[in-house]
Symmetry: C2
Subunit: 249 residues, 2 copies
């Protein structure tokens, strides 16, 4: 028994690859996104009243998380558990699941009217660029905010665990781009201070030899994150992250 | 661009028809449900760890809300607005939407191991019997409980607005069934005290002639709700509801 659904639109975000996407919405509070509707669904009436809600649920397809041959795994290794402990796929929010459906509650900043229909402007996005969206629902505090829910094995994470600094080169490059991309400085800081490194990586808070460079950074390992139209290059040592530069892709 | 999804299981609930289903989860806190997995997905490993969460999201198909010819309406009339004001379908939780996807956070009471695989026992259900389920996700307070979200036009409802009483016949019938259906008395009370009558109906808090019977009930209008394996018959006057009997279907 298969169900056939037609995406209503596509999400454009600053996250061009999986690495670096915040592990939950509203962590990088200024990370922007926009939802463009496909022509059939681009009708102003369909979103009338939505502007009264501060947050919306997006239900979407994890379009880059489909496994080869359509196979699914019954167990996954959540990054929150260090990546070395397995739990059932339905006890996780892993993108690799029998039906690759995602849901995120995202801040709705504005609804823009365009000749091609309404466009939703969003922040606090934790979703990959080009993601197909199946549905939009208002976030209803009276039904979605459960004050008594138990956390299970996923208590609130230690947010903002990293101190982020910038090289002169990076600072100049960011300043030059802030006209085109408002709040770019904050966005990069928010993405990095949540520590995008995988928890199971040796790199995180552990075996980095802080003496490899005089400034304490690991001289060998340079991370790259595709963000907007550039490649963000940075290094890490313990809980210190230094942005090196913004490379063209 | 169509997306093809396979339901992972089917939900069995006490709600056999749309009328009477609570308008949000956890209103009728004892309303029971069970999720049976389809054979391909009935694997104990897939739910391992899920028992650590008190609540789960069910993502499901509104299988009885598909419009003829697959047409969708850009605007709907939410019952919360009295049924006489239209809003955009994406500003509502209406089951009639371009992709008939529903989501509810439901209390997880227990995971039972059976020879046919795991079965999830649920309460606080607001979902129609036989609903196909697409996905299960843990409710994560740190990401799903937004303390700052704005309510829009759907503030918390006035719950439990009706006083429910029972005829001797009904009381006896319920007592006889409580062995088979635990908490039946509470479940019926919870369903009715939330007032299942449509807000736009003249019946609600308005033009009922309270003098039509000596007990103040409207003698002509008898409501029926299919619940479990019986038809619940009741009458209403203002905010008083009286259960008459449990008829066989």
């Amino acid at each position: 028994m298969a169900v056939h659904l037609d995406p209503i639109g596509v999400l454009h975000t600053c996250f061009k690859e999986k690495f670096g996407i915040p592990r939950q919405p509203n962590l990088a509070v200024e990370a922007p996104g926009r939802l463009d509707f496909f022509p059939e669904f681009a009708r102003p009436e369909a979103v009338r009243g939505l502007e009264q809600f501060s947050h919306i649920w997006l239900i979407f397809i994890f379009h880059k998380a489909v496994k080869k041959g359509g196979k699914w795994s019954a167990m996954v290794r959540p990054p929150r558990l260090g990546g070395n402990k397995k739990v059932g796929v339905f006890a996780s929010r892993s993108p690799f699941r029998p039906n690759p459906i995602g849901m995120s509650c995202i801040r709705l900043e504005a609804i823009e009217s365009t000749p091609k229909g309404p466009v939703l402007h969003l922040t606090g996005v934790d979703i990959l660029d080009q993601t197909p969206v199946l549905d939009i629902k208002p976030y209803l505090p009276y039904s979605d905010r459960l004050d008594t829910a138990r956390d299970g094995f996923a208590p609130a994470p230690d947010n903002k665990t990293c101190q982020v600094s910038f090289s002169d080169t990076a600072a100049t490059q960011i300043q030059e781009r802030e006209k085109a991309i408002p709040n770019l400085f904050s966005i990069i800081t928010q993405v990095l201070e949540n520590d995008p490194r995988p928890a199971y990586s040796n790199a995180r808070f552990s075996s980095i030899k802080e003496e490899t460079r005089t400034d304490g950074l690991n001289k060998d390992r340079v991370y790259g994150i595709r963000l907007f139209d550039f490649d963000l290059k940075w290094q890490a040592a313990g809980n210190k992250i230094r942005v090196l530069c913004l490379d063209p892709v």
